[in-house]
Symmetry: C2
């Protein structure tokens, strides 16, 4: 859309249109947004001899960039971040609606109990939910190696430095035994129990 507008403003002159976009500082970003980042690395990081594992796909536009140390280091840093910060989702779009509805309910109950007026609750709720997204979504989390920036901002910076669109497409994080109830009950115990 920016391109179209710029072209109209430049009366159909491509160079002039690009100049116009450049002035607005969006030419490079626009160029990258049109590119498809289908190269890159599938990268893994295992922590604590197999206690935590992370798998991710970090994309760029060319195989050339994917092979650079800078790109590999970025993949490693993001994998380390995921291991440490345990995000549940990549971004807001992935968060289940029920999870947000549940959080909203809990918060608004809290706020009511604190005696907050109804007209304030909606406003406070918005802030609370944004904070919640920031905790569970990888791209919104403060980056462990540079807490002034979110993971998304780190990727945008890398993109700008590398000169290619850089995106984190997906990740998985497994923690050994998470969710498995740790009650061991062997056969002898069960038999003993059944005997009364």
């Amino acid at each position: 859309m920016d391109c179209k507008k710029a072209l109209e403003e430049a009366e159909g002159n491509i160079d002039k249109a690009i100049d116009g976009l450049r002035k607005k500082g969006i030419a490079k970003a626009a160029k990258r947004a049109d590119k498809i980042a289908a190269e890159g690395l599938v990268y893994s990081y295992i922590h604590g001899n197999g206690k935590i594992g992370v798998l991710l796909e970090l994309n760029c536009e060319t195989d050339f960039v994917a092979k650079t140390d800078k790109f590999k280091d970025l993949a490693h840093d993001v994998a380390m971040h995921i291991a440490a910060s345990a995000p549940k989702y990549l971004n807001r779009e992935e968060v289940l609606a029920e999870e947000i509805a549940k959080e909203k309910e809990v918060y608004s109950e809290q706020l009511k109990n604190e005696g907050k007026p109804a007209e304030m609750i909606e406003k406070i709720l918005e802030g609370k939910i944004n904070k919640f997204y920031g905790e569970i979504c990888l791209l919104e989390q403060p980056f462990i190696k540079d807490e002034d920036n979110t993971v998304e901002q780190v990727l945008v910076q890398a993109s700008s430095e590398i000169g290619e669109k850089v995106t984190l497409r997906r990740f998985a994080r497994y923690e050994l035994g998470e969710g498995i109830e740790k009650k061991a009950c062997d056969f002898a115990e069960e038999v003993a129990e059944q005997m009364g």
Copy 2:
């Protein structure tokens, strides 16, 4: 349930009950089924310098077994298998109902076109769907290092050799760029197109 029945048959004598179960060859399996496999390894395997990546959680009952070479080798072999065989699901329970419904529709249409009688179609369909499960479910796939056995059978064998319940709980497999349309369209091209 097996335990209870065995106990009844042995008139409440535990040793006799265990003997009875052993004779039926299910004592060891029963014992393991009661245990909870919450130890093990989160293991990863990266193929082709980051073109394919696998992450899995292989569970056993004790940290001691998790640290053995035998267990590590098993985790590695299963990860290699996943990289090579590209299963979509762990087991039948994970397969989406719509996916099976779609397959059934396609198969039954094929069979009708081949002029198969209606009473045969249901029977053939069952076989076709079983084969389909065997292709997309990791635990039902023939193991790459021993194609006479499924991955599940290999895990059961390992379980029996190791003497602990061994289960594969989950896996992820990423292939670089899969699903991303590979048409690159840079800014100049887009502008040119908009110019007609």
